[in-house]
Point group: C2
Chain length 204, copies 2
């Protein structure tokens, strides 16, 4: 789940408590370290600023219900709801390749629960792979502070095995074996395009 | 401008008048024909359903201010504002190529005003072109009911000429000469990937 997409999660204090415009995430999370999303966004800003890649997080889709249009000031959304995204959260272009991925965190220490993915996200990634895109999942084991890039094709294999009585999660050791571990660096914080380069090489 | 991004435009009746969830655009616009956005979304649905391309419109970015979390029901956004998108509205993947474009409508009959583009959209398209993406503008002359795909590189040329004392708009005849006219069809309504095929051919 992305942090912008509550549906049923606990209230987010920085929204419900504050009537001011939200501060950027890095300050929201300053006290408890960055979320995976913030780390990815920072890395994408670095890649963009250095003309290495153009990858952005998509805005959270909103269902508008009521919008006021006060005179001489900006439109105010007075009633709206979070909608389930129909795609993954991140996409863009790198070296001419279409890049598409989603980012997930788990507090588990031994395996990643597949229920973190929605069927429509898997379907979207299949469609992108069929069109020649480079698709993967960013998976962070927060308690272990370990981050992996798991190629979508590997994710599909475990996803499909569920319906054949397979396990509902992917073991860390399997993610570690089939994926690419991303080690923190200063700039970019998450140098994940190095792993993407390997995926591109394997693809060709 | 996308219809989801008012900033200063007239109130949208179907938002301000209705407290119900908005109906899909095709019904909102049924009485006055489809907007260019609706026509593009329909075409993208066709391309997706037929495994030809995966191209989606990005959600409109929203600045959340206040979100309520009622017990046992979905989070309700109580105060939020439309933010200016930092990229174009549409992107995706087709035959392994990264596709990125924006759609603009004008009521003019002789030329397309460049002020319809924001500098950040031009910058984003330059970055995507530098990464090997296929970028263009969807331009509709609503009064003439003529639609063109204008390659981004051509758009950049006219955009840059403004600062050298060039005109602030692109003449229809120049768009017609440098771009690709899209003629309505039943399915997809706007077969614009035919023009993209030519852009890809010219690229190689």
């Amino acid at each position: 789940m992305t942090i912008h997409y509550p549906n049923g999660q606990q209230p987010r204090k920085h929204y419900s408590a504050s009537r001011d415009l939200p501060t950027p995430h890095q300050s929201i999370y300053a006290k408890r370290g960055m979320s995976l999303e913030d780390e990815i966004n920072h890395s994408n800003q670095y890649y963009l600023a250095n003309h290495i890649a153009v990858i952005h997080k998509k805005p959270t889709p909103i269902q508008l219900v009521k919008v006021d249009y006060p005179k001489r000031s900006a439109a105010v959304i007075r009633e709206a709801y979070f909608r389930r995204p129909s795609t993954t959260d991140y996409n863009g272009v790198y070296k001419g390749y279409y890049i598409d991925f989603d980012a997930k965190e788990t507090r588990n220490k031994r395996s990643f629960p597949l229920k973190n993915f929605h069927p429509h996200q898997i379907r979207h990634m299949r469609e992108c792979v069929d069109q020649g895109g480079i698709c993967f999942a960013f998976i962070k084991f927060t308690e272990l502070d370990q981050i992996f890039l798991l190629p979508a094709t590997t994710l599909f294999k475990y996803w499909d095995q569920q319906s054949d009585g397979g396990r509902k999660s992917i073991l860390l050791k399997d993610i570690s074996a089939a994926g690419f571990q991303i080690h923190y660096r200063l700039n970019p914080r998450l140098p994940y395009l190095d792993a993407v380069d390997q995926m591109i090489a394997n693809k060709e």
